[in-house]
Subunit: 204 residues, 2 copies
DNA sequence: CTATGTGAATTTATTCACAGCA
DNA sequence: TGCTGTGAATAAATTCACATAG
């Protein structure tokens, strides 16, 4: 395969493929063609083949893709191969919901630490995690955590982001409706619920 | 202005512009140029001008855009002009977090009804809303609610979606990690948290 | 002189269509 | 034969660059 810059859109789709394949694997499916995977995931077959082709020859002509192998390959590309720990900042309703969210495990994430600034919450257990005081946020450095989830009010988000960066985090999943300023080496993905909802009426 | 098909990407950006403009308005800003808005929102100025140009001539050459007028225009385009009611299905942690989410108001949404199937929750008040029994879901027809938010476990999501469609809903914001099959006239936007998180390590 | 609005140029992403391998 | 892998063709989105209006 010749060199090609990998489209961002391709990376965005890989987790979608991964979930679909995981589902097929759970169903006992051994191999899958681009056409049947495409049908299942509501994307085009050519898209799937092209996306995979950027990374190598994963399939077998005349047969299709081996589900288990393909899952492993995608996990490698996305660097989900080994479980990595994440810290959750904010133990409110959203934080609590995230702690209970089953989706993280699929992607090899485990929330290892939870921080909050409310005395009422510090020390309490939520699920398996005990809420720690936000002033000890640099603890994440010692524990080698590189990834954090921000679930605090918008006003506090930038301050928390600064502290996380200082503590060595290089990936942030941000649920606060704010643009976060961080150094280039740190990747932020913001999930802004209202922003998604905002375009819904247009299509209705 | 000649006819142009409006790119989906433009629609996706309008809520981003809207939030930025709202912020500027709160700061007392009266008018804004594409360049300063672009700086503020971290997009390109040409993009902003092109996006707006699809809908008409909103600006004044040599001056810029009137913030208040522009907000009104975007709200019109997105059909956010009058507050519309929404139903929330699922009163778990996520549902509770969504009820407390301040972002909805900005976009003219108000959660008017909350449904759940858990006897422990039915009848309880969460914030201003009283949780109703999911078996009475068709109540939303009577109340003229056209928009719903699904915050139930993945397994239950499709069943709920079917019921919502039957009740006349034509827009769904889906938080369950499942593809929802609905008639073409119904618009679904799925926010899949794990899917966003899944591509974060790739960039780290 | 400033900043919009917009065709044209460019870049990016998707789809087509088919050669080539199992 | 069946399905992948991939250049070539097409479509979509972004950026450029400038004429034009205030």
């Amino acid at each position: 395969m010749r060199y090609h810059k990998i489209p961002d859109e391709t990376i965005r789709r890989l987790p979608v493929y991964l979930r679909g394949l995981q589902y097929l694997l759970d169903q006992g499916r051994q191999s899958v063609s681009s056409i049947s995977l495409a049908d299942f995931l509501h994307v085009s077959a050519a898209q799937i083949r092209k996306d995979f082709s950027y990374f190598g020859d994963f399939g077998t002509r005349g047969v299709g893709y081996d589900v288990e192998t393909l899952i492993r390959q995608i996990r490698n590309i996305l660097k989900l191969s080994d479980t990595s720990g994440a810290a959750l900042i904010g133990a409110g309703n959203l934080g609590t919901a995230l702690l209970a969210y089953p989706g993280f495990r699929t992607y090899g994430f485990e929330i290892l630490a939870v921080f909050d600034n409310s005395p009422a919450k510090i020390g309490k257990k939520i699920g398996r995690a005990k809420v720690e005081d936000i002033v000890n946020i640099e603890e994440i450095t010692r524990r080698g955590i590189k990834l954090a989830i921000i679930a605090v009010p918008a006003e506090a988000a930038q301050d928390i982001a600064d502290k996380l960066v200082a503590a060595g985090v290089n990936g942030i999943l941000n649920f606060a409706p704010r643009f976060l300023s961080v150094p280039k080496k740190v990747k932020v993905i913001t999930i802004d619920i209202a922003m998604e909802l905002g375009r819904l009426p247009y299509y209705m």
